[in-house]
């Protein structure tokens, strides 16, 4: 068993910042990550990182924009924290050497982004995430922080108290991918989950293949509620064969969307008569899919994004990056032909419920980054707001786990923060486990001694892995494929009661088939078949929470659109959807949105731009 003060699971932007923060506090910190840190998906972020750095801007404006962008489903204390801490954190990155783009006077550049009332998006070329990731990893190397890379964390070691709010997290069990050994990691102070996104729930996503929602799934099964899972952001311009993102810059420069009949559908079919191609992401995504559904898509799948008319010179000058992407990943030369594009899953606003200090309701368990929901994005994330989230909340979780007192949290967490249970949600099948004994919390009496709790987790994992390796059965890839397809068809940009129910049925079937999933590669060495099989279980749990949340919320807010409910219903729905795992079943309840900030209360308004 390895033992450290703080264990950080995941080494993307959030994990690295958390580890550095814990190290700053003097804690003995280790990172456990299934990919080497520089392989983390934070590296793919292009656009930039928001922070109020200049005269004329201030954190209050940033907070206001974010609250409005969230469609009033963000929690004010978390949003204000984001906006207040971001400038210092961004300067800190600069001091660590991050190669930001520069102005003539040598200061870091900022540019305007959608939904922001001030050009406060700081960037490093078109590779902001790459530089952010590498700069922080360099600091981890400098500090000699221990990194266990290519270790897959598959279970949290949590005590078995009945009430999740009494449970304590003492560490985790991880699978050493290179050797096949299952090892315990004991955390004297705390475990921080920073496992990133879960785009693999869908078959078409801008996310990496490793983004399988492991953190939220593990935390959820250990008793931490997941929050606002129905809010999934789709990006309208991704390449059909890979999901690689084509930046909104193309439309910003004048790129045009066409259907198979050569019509400029955003205008000709009246989706956005004013903004056209520049309408917001959800509007454009819905328009594209409507075209395809009505038979005006190309190959029944996508539409064209055309920038040829911009002229070769302008394209090379301003959008060169796009030429490489289209060429390398789709085999299309956008200077002479239009690019095929379709909507793709891009970001998950929901996740592990945390306070603005990164704490969950389980003592010693923290979460930060895309896997967490401190609730800064509400129902809709503004571009450039995920990266500051990583560093702001990564740092806070790291400091807190290492023992710094951050004061009392204003965002309540845990089942006791519930206002009302959801009752009467009509589901076609019983969601949750098929066998209630299939649980991830230690469950054999009063298991509370730290080392024992970790040993128990390791032993359970060993058993689970052996079972999967030994039996004959279904390959996970088939299950994963069906799950992804069902989510894309039924819980996508468009949501209808019937299709959501359909999705829940498929999810249930996937669970059934997963009961006898088998790993056919018998090897202990670098068994990716096994890893993908474990991930698939996580995808099933995550998919279920998304579909359940979406079925319950019968209104239209941010990224969540219901055909039969096309308005935002503030009277009824100004609240967070919470789902927790109790005795093998998801339980749905609600928690009010905190609209009260440090000094002012945010008043929900119509969102128009």
């Amino acid at each position: 068993m390895h033992e450290h003060d703080v264990i950080v699971v995941g080494a993307g932007g959030a994990g690295l910042r958390a580890a550095i923060a814990a190290d700053e506090e003097g804690a003995d910190v280790a990172m456990v990550t299934k990919l080497h840190p520089v392989r983390s998906h934070t590296g793919a972020a292009e656009g930039g990182i928001n922070a109020a750095l200049r005269d004329g801007d201030d954190w209050e404006l940033h907070a206001y924009d974010t609250m409005k962008g969230s469609d009033y489903l963000g929690d004010a204390p978390a949003i204000e924290t984001l906006a207040q801490d971001a400038p210092e954190e961004v300067i800190q990155l600069e001091h660590w050497g991050m190669p930001f783009s520069r102005e003539d006077d040598g200061r870091v550049s900022q540019r305007p982004f959608g939904g922001l009332s001030f050009p406060r998006t700081t960037y490093a070329g078109a590779e902001t995430g790459h530089h952010l990731l590498h700069t922080m990893y360099e600091q981890v190397v400098k500090r000699g922080i221990r990194v266990y890379d290519e270790f897959y964390v598959s279970r949290l070691a949590v005590t078995d108290h009945d009430d999740p709010e009494n449970r304590v997290c003492h560490g985790c069990a991880a699978y050493d991918i290179k050797s096949g050994e299952i090892v315990g990691f004991r955390a004297r102070n705390g475990v921080i989950l920073a496992t990133g996104g879960d785009g693999q729930v869908y078959d078409h996503t801008t996310n990496a293949v490793a983004n399988t929602g492991d953190g939220p799934a593990m935390a959820y099964r250990a008793g931490v509620p997941v929050e606002d899972m129905e809010f999934v952001q789709f990006h309208p311009t991704t390449l059909p064969s890979t999901g690689v993102l084509i930046s909104e810059g193309v439309r910003g420069e004048g790129g045009i969307l066409y259907n198979s009949e050569g019509e400029r559908f955003m205008f000709e079919h009246g989706y956005a008569n004013n903004a056209g191609e520049l309408a917001s992401r959800d509007v454009v995504s819905r328009a594209e899919l409507t075209e395809v559904n009505e038979g005006r898509g190309i190959n029944d799948e996508y539409v064209y994004l055309d920038m040829r008319h911009l002229g070769e010179e302008r394209i090379y000058d301003r959008l060169e990056n796009i030429i490489h992407l289209a060429e390398d990943f789709e085999g299309v030369n956008p200077v002479v032909e239009p690019m095929p594009v379709k909507p793709g899953q891009h970001y998950h606003m929901g996740g592990i419920e945390t306070s603005e200090h990164g704490e969950t309701c389980i003592t010693g368990l923290y979460a930060a980054g895309e896997c967490a929901c401190a609730s800064v994005h509400g129902s809709n994330r503004l571009g450039g707001n995920a990266l500051p989230e990583l560093i702001v909340f990564g740092a806070r979780a790291g400091h807190h786990a290492a023992g710094r007192d951050l004061g009392e949290a204003q965002v309540p967490t845990g089942p006791s923060a519930a206002t009302e249970p959801e009752d009467g949600l009509d589901t076609p099948v019983e969601p949750g486990a098929l066998d209630a004994s299939d649980e991830d919390v230690a469950a054999d009496g009063a298991l509370v001694e730290p080392a024992e709790v970790v040993d128990y987790a390791v032993e359970s994992e060993r058993q689970r892995v052996e079972d999967m390796l030994e039996r004959d059965g279904t390959n996970h890839a088939e299950i994963r494929e069906d799950l992804q397809k069902a989510m894309t068809e039924n819980v996508n940009v468009f949501r209808e009661e019937e299709s959501l129910k359909q999705a829940l049925e498929v999810i249930k079937e996937c669970r059934e088939r997963y009961q006898n999933v088998a790993v056919s590669d018998p090897s202990r060495t670098f068994n990716t078949d096994l890893i993908h099989t474990i991930e698939t279980r996580n995808l099933i749990d995550i998919a279920e929470t998304i579909a359940l949340g979406a079925l319950a919320r019968d209104e239209f807010r941010g990224a969540h659109w219901r055909r039969a409910h096309q308005e935002r219903k503030d009277d009824e729905w100004l609240k967070h959807t919470m789902i927790s795992w109790n005795d093998g079943k998801p339980k749905l309840y609600y928690k009010p949105v905190v609209l009260e900030g440090e000094e002012k209360e945010y008043e929900p308004k119509v969102r128009s731009y």
Binding site: R102, V141, R251, S280, L319, D328, G383, N527, R607, Y609
Partner: protein
């Protein structure tokens, strides 16, 4: 206006006008033409591509002796080498092992030896290759299993150059200033994704296990040329790369530069460091 528009990545792209850049774009145009012709030759329907994949597992009977497995995968427009591997794994043999994650040339985990050249699987279009396509692990590295190689040595070399920013004069509450020219100077060097393709292609590195290698030297360049670190630190960095197994080993064969998927002018950077080192040594005469 949209709530979520990501701004054009215009600024930096327009800053890029080096010859290197022009060349890269000209190559792309040429390749696109070739590809169009190659695709015209392929009838879309029923086309399959054969891949021959290196297999090895130290643990499993029958796989202990390295061999090649052949898979016949359906071809489609836009298909990459990585796509073909994923297809083969998910449909024919789930034990087929390779690293990959981002599938957009930024995580650096799927550098492979494809038809005798180091390339990123995700960034290599099938139509650009001669078929059948032969896929092997990176040469000059220990094979862990199938296409997975041990990266420890590469990581060690990267760490050997003190790959982190070191500066003493920090203004409080605001950023250090850096000129646009200086950022431009280091820009290409900061693009490295640690894929190790360069190291694998380098004859010197193959013969001298202690040679820092192109990626690590490029990392040293990234910091040595950054004006924010100051003159003293630059001396220190030049000392590191001047060591016995440092820059002077490089014989300017350009193989690293040729394979780098991020188009980093590695050989140029190594040469420049050599010149800088000479200059700084002369100072003390």
């Amino acid at each position: 206006m949209s709530t979520q528009i990501q701004e054009p990545e215009t600024e930096t792209e327009s800053e890029e006008t080096s010859e290197h850049q022009q060349q890269r774009l000209a190559d792309k145009r040429e390749r696109a033409d070739m590809r169009e012709r190659a695709e015209a030759d392929l009838s879309d329907a029923d086309e399959t591509v054969r891949i021959k994949v290196f297999r090895y597992d130290p643990e499993v009977e029958g796989k202990k002796d390295p061999r090649f497995d052949t898979f016949e995968v359906p071809f489609y427009k836009g298909m990459t080498v990585l796509d073909s591997l994923i297809y083969a794994r998910d449909h024919f043999d789930s034990s087929l092992t390779f690293r990959h994650s981002c599938r957009q040339a930024i995580c650096g985990s799927d550098a492979l030896f494809v038809n005798g050249r180091q390339q990123l699987g995700c960034k290599t279009q099938m139509v650009d290759l001669e078929w059948p396509v032969r896929i092997e692990p990176l040469p000059h590295a220990e094979v862990v299993k199938d296409l997975v190689v041990d990266m420890e040595h590469f990581y060690d070399q990267m760490e050997a150059v003190e790959p982190y920013f070191q500066t003493n004069e920090l203004p409080s509450g605001e950023e250090q200033r850096q000129t646009r020219e200086n950022r431009e100077k280091v820009k290409m060097s900061t693009r490295c994704i640690w894929c190790s393709a360069c190291m694998s292609s380098c004859n010197i590195a193959a013969g001298d296990n202690e040679y820092l290698g192109p990626a690590a030297i490029n990392k040293a360049y990234r910091f040595a040329m950054d004006e924010r670190e100051g003159a003293e630190m630059k001396e220190h960095r030049l000392n590191i790369i001047e060591q016995e197994h440092g820059v002077w080993r490089c014989q300017t064969q350009f193989s690293c530069t040729e394979v780098c998927p991020k188009d980093i002018p590695l050989t140029e950077h190594i040469q420049e460091l050599k010149r800088e080192a000479v200059k700084s040594n002369l100072k003390f005469w």
